[in-house]
Amino acid sequence: MTESAKPLDPKTQSPDEESIPDMSNESRFSLSWQTLFAGAMFVFMYLPILILMVYSFNESAYSAGWEGFTLEWYRKLFGDPRILTALRNSVTVALCAVGVSAILGTLMAVGLARYQFFGKKLYQGIAYLPLIVPDIAIAVATLVFLAAVGIGLSLWTIVAAHIVFCLAYIAIAVSTRLADLDKHLEEAALDLGATPVQAFLQVLLPQLMPGIVSGCLIAFVLSMDDLLISSFTAGAGATTLPMEIFSRIRTAVKPDINALSVILITVSGILAFVAESLRYRSEQR
């Protein structure tokens, strides 16, 4: 990770005089306590995750003492039909929600960048509201609304509700990318006789791809992680993975859930790495 990211860092070439201000002769002591503190906070951020992972290999189910290495919990996990069904539901919801949001969110970001119109601030405010408003409020509103118009709850109502927040994350990532793009390319394509649709699909879209992909990855991870909105909008049998995990761990510590978390953390780690390196690469340009 370190090796690949270093040469991409755009700041590497920046003049070094700004990095060593007079702060250093102000007090060396201050530098060292802050370094130690920051180091401790890095440990604080990673230690719980590491502990969770280590204990998935612990033979003892109940004590925190180490009683030997085992893969028993993984075997148990993969033989658990309820976990596997929940996983399949979650992946279905996340893929569908992200797929629809990728299209709607990209169109929205391009539209917001391109046009000025009455009520644009309101449109933007509403579109980005799900980034901030607590999940519980969105969950409640969706449930009440679905009941009011008489739509039965199912796996698809979860998808519909997830699109609302996935849209916002993808649109944010796309507009960030859009802001650094050369607008003249698309104009040139139009001048050369491309139709607006051709210019959009063949010139703009390929350039937006890194933004779209990294937005989709964030949205996918958030959709897979959502507990509240899914709980409120899930029909009978449409249990998602967070709902299944939640119902198990609220009573006790379960080592097979530790095993599951190792797998989930590894997958989201890989997705995070892909998304971040895409972001690096587009920043470098």
Binding site: T2, T12, P21, L112, I163, V253
Partner: protein, 302 residues
Amino acid sequence: MSVSTKPPLSPNSPPDSGKTPLGQQWLGPVALLGPAGLWLVVLLVLPTLVIFEISLVPDIVPGMKVIPSGLDNYLLAFDPLYIKVIFRSLFFALGTTALCLLLGFPVAYWIAILAPSRWRNLLLMGFVLPLWTSSLLRAYAWVTILRPTGVLNTVLGSIGLPGLELIDRPSAVLIGMSYDFLPYMVLILYSSLEKLDRQLLEASADLGATPLETFWKITVPQTAPGIAAGSLLVFISSLGDFVDPELLGGTSSGTVARLIYNQFLGQSPNWGFGSALSTILILVVSVSIALLLKYGDRDTQP
């Protein structure tokens, strides 16, 4: 789905500019902004209006006719039983915000100003990376650590120290929430500290200010918008947090999110009261963001 015919009501369907008689002019905006706008109207704007309407009906149950008749549900929130829950949520949110600011500022300062510049992006990315893991699993990790026979007490026991009883208490909730939201705080403080004019720090030191004076008179005022934005974001996120109080706080740590949850999925549902609480939550959040945007804008103008 009869609802989908309603969008003309929406305030955000792109209006066609009257200047051009050509139909072409509004085709683009509608094609780009229409689909997402429609989705948001149907699944965000209308639902919010519906819960506002429902919140005005006392003792509503599913299937009942909606006749808005008063503010009883809002007054119910001031019942001593519920006001306690609201104050507890505020306490958790304020405590988490303070902890995140206290822990996050030195980290953001170190990454943005003291660390070698070539490492900054990587360090920041490394610090916020845990955000990518499930918040449910992060809370669960703290259960593993803090429970009576958990990792912390096993370690303390093995070096001869008495165990700590932290789980199922407010302290565990504060630990879990601070852990959850610290990366957001560091991220926002970093982007504010990165823009800090270093020459001001140098000038301040040259003119004989102590590091502490420089910190309070230069660094803090210069990064005030970042501090406000970070604090507000952490405050709002922790105010609506469900998982941490639920898993780490035990039965006596119910928060507003749990209270709302119970009004819909609990034993004795009360949709009207739950909608009223949600409406209050949405209003509080929207107003604070509006204030922040105004305050932030004014601060960055000069």
